[in-house]
């Protein structure tokens, strides 16, 4: 007579079986919309000719430079201003909280209408900004979006405008969690406001600040909207970043291999950041 072995003994416990059932929906999403696209992308990206076309294009090298400027200037500017403004928004006065409610608006309003509004606002011929400059000073304002250098500066400004509130809010939340006792002790020891920030506040939010900076660097690398909706990569394709140039090759010029190749050249920058960030997040989740 064959012995009756309950399913549980054969490896899968009742709970484990349920666990797998609960994971099935995500596994399906993952297989169809993550694994397959990534495999397909890897296949498209294995075409050497795509890279040759990309590397032969002077626009690509300009784009690499732009992307680095965007990350270095945009991210640092945004995070440092957010850190400075968190000192303002952390204050307990009611009127500052009311200012805070308005301050969040760029984050709450979707990209497309606000960035298109800025695009019209900056138009050198009929925009409100140059009109104001003309009326108050009598000189013609700069051609904001038709000079590549100024236009790229405007892209960075739009990016900062859109994402500054979110990161300020995160830093404020982090600072709210710092114990009041630390500040009282520092004040009793005669610490100046700067010393309180330097030796109490910053050490307490240091981890949060670094995690946030990593996260926003990754997201900024993928910021398609701030570029595409403001300048469309122009004038003369000189204000692209990797994200918009890849889309331009892939869809504008129907060259899928070149498009994917462009994105893949961003991976040496992206992958270390992602690995670093996941390690940090796991460490923080455990503590």
């Amino acid at each position: 007579m064959a012995p009756l072995v309950p399913a549980a003994r054969r490896g899968l416990s009742f709970e484990a079986a349920w666990g797998i059932i609960f994971l099935i929906p995500y596994a399906v999403v993952f297989a169809f919309f993550v694994v397959y696209p990534i495999a397909y992308g890897a296949w498209l990206g294995s075409n050497i000719a795509g890279y040759e076309r990309v590397f032969d294009d002077p626009i690509y090298w300009r784009t690499v430079k732009n992307t680095l400027v965007f990350l270095i200037v945009g991210v640092n500017l945004k995070m440092l201003i957010a850190l400075a403004l968190s000192s303002f928004f952390v204050l307990p006065h009611l009127w500052i909280r009311i200012v805070g409610v308005f301050f969040i608006l760029p984050w709450a309003v979707p990209h497309i209408p606000s960035i298109l509004s800025i695009r019209w606002f900056l138009n050198s011929e009929w925009g409100m900004l140059n009109n104001l400059i003309w009326e108050t000073t009598g000189v013609f304002g700069p051609s904001w979006l038709s000079n590549p250098t100024i236009a790229f500066g405007c892209i960075i400004a739009v990016h900062v405008w859109k994402y500054l509130p979110f990161w300020t809010l995160i830093l404020v939340a982090g600072r709210m969690a710092i114990s009041r006792d630390l500040y009282e002790a520092a004040t009793i020891d005669g610490a100046s406001p700067w010393q309180r920030f330097r030796f109490v506040t910053f050490p307490q939010i240091r981890n949060l600040f670094i995690t946030s900076t990593l996260l926003t660097t990754i997201w900024s690398l993928g910021d398609f909207n701030s570029v595409y909706l403001l300048t469309g990569g122009g004038p003369a394709e000189r204000t692209n970043t990797l994200a918009t140039l890849g889309i331009r090759y892939g869809f504008g010029q129907a060259d899928l291999s070149a498009g994917v190749a462009t994105m893949i050249t961003g991976l040496p920058l992206l992958v270390p950041l992602v690995v670093l960030l996941i390690r940090r997040l796991n460490r923080q989740a455990q503590s």
Binding site: W95, P110, S117, F224, I247
Partner: protein, 279 residues
């Protein structure tokens, strides 16, 4: 006390600068939306003859660019609702399996998922488009829904797992002793207790789907299938497009997410700080 008031007075210029910087683009949107279309090029700080006509044009579909306004609004609502439902159910199931049932290799699944969340969506747009074409979903709203759900779910799993850790395991144990199946524990213990985090990710998914431009723009090209951001993007194709009308559409389009955001702001911050961005 006097010291405090003096300090606050010193902060007023900071506040003024912050408010001008923050509000100017939105003020401009509002002003342009109130400007008659033939005065769009005047660049006035306040229009000479402010009018609500542009809003009427939008609501009555009274322009070439707005033939499908109500249909597109409906598409946006549908996409947001469906994305929200998919993300909530898939993520709550997965987070329950990983966090509560401690399924084997759960942490690996969770980390791999998180990695997909961290790949910028723009970097996957080309293969994702091709894959959606293989599934014959291009030019249907489901291409957008499934893309956004794919990118939002990993984050939702992460937030729910973090938040779920604050729910005592003794509750699961007690329910188990009473003979509850995992499905009952999920429904009667887990879901009610993680409700604040569910609200946060529901909002996150709704806003994400409502706001998504790139994927919607790539995958939806029929005007009657489009969501609102794509329809607004069409104004870029032509310099003669009536931008004051576009801005009126923009204001209408921005109101639901902004309202929703303010309504659940408290939960959003809780959810976001629980979900990784914490010290």
């Amino acid at each position: 006390m006097n010291q405090s008031i003096r300090n606050q007075l010193l902060l007023i210029p900071v506040a003024a600068l912050v408010l001008i910087w923050t509000l100017l683009p939105l003020y401009h949107m509002l002003v342009l939306s109130l400007t008659p279309t033939d005065a769009a090029f005047a660049g006035k700080l306040w229009p000479d003859n402010p009018t609500l006509k542009n809003y009427a044009t939008v609501l009555t579909q009274g322009d070439f660019y707005l033939k499908y306004f109500w249909q597109q609004l409906g598409n946006s609502v549908f996409a947001a609702a469906m994305t929200c439902i998919i993300v909530l159910s898939v993520a709550s199931f997965a987070s329950f399996a990983i966090g509560r049932l401690k399924v084997r290799y759960g942490d690996v699944v969770s980390n791999v998922a998180l990695m997909t969340y961290l790949i910028p969506a723009a970097f996957l747009a080309i293969p994702m488009y091709q894959v959606m074409a293989t599934y014959e979903l291009i030019n249907t709203i489901w291409a957008l829904i499934l893309s956004v759900a794919t990118f939002t779910t990993p984050y939702a799993i992460w937030v729910l797992r973090q938040y779920g850790n604050s729910v005592p395991f003794e509750l699961d144990e007690a329910a188990k002793v009473d003979g509850a199946t995992p499905l009952q524990i999920y429904r009667l213990v887990y879901i009610p207790l993680i409700r604040p985090a569910l609200l946060a990710i529901a909002t996150f998914a709704l806003l994400h789907a409502w706001n998504e431009y790139l994927y919607a723009f790539l995958m939806l090209s029929n005007e009657s299938e489009m969501t609102m951001p794509v329809a607004m993007g069409l104004f870029l194709n032509n310099d003669d497009a009536p931008w004051p009308v576009l801005m009126a559409m923009g204001v209408i389009y921005s109101l639901p997410p902004a309202t929703l955001y303010y309504a659940v702001r408290k939960y959003m911050v809780t959810g976001l700080t629980a979900g990784g961005v914490k010290s």
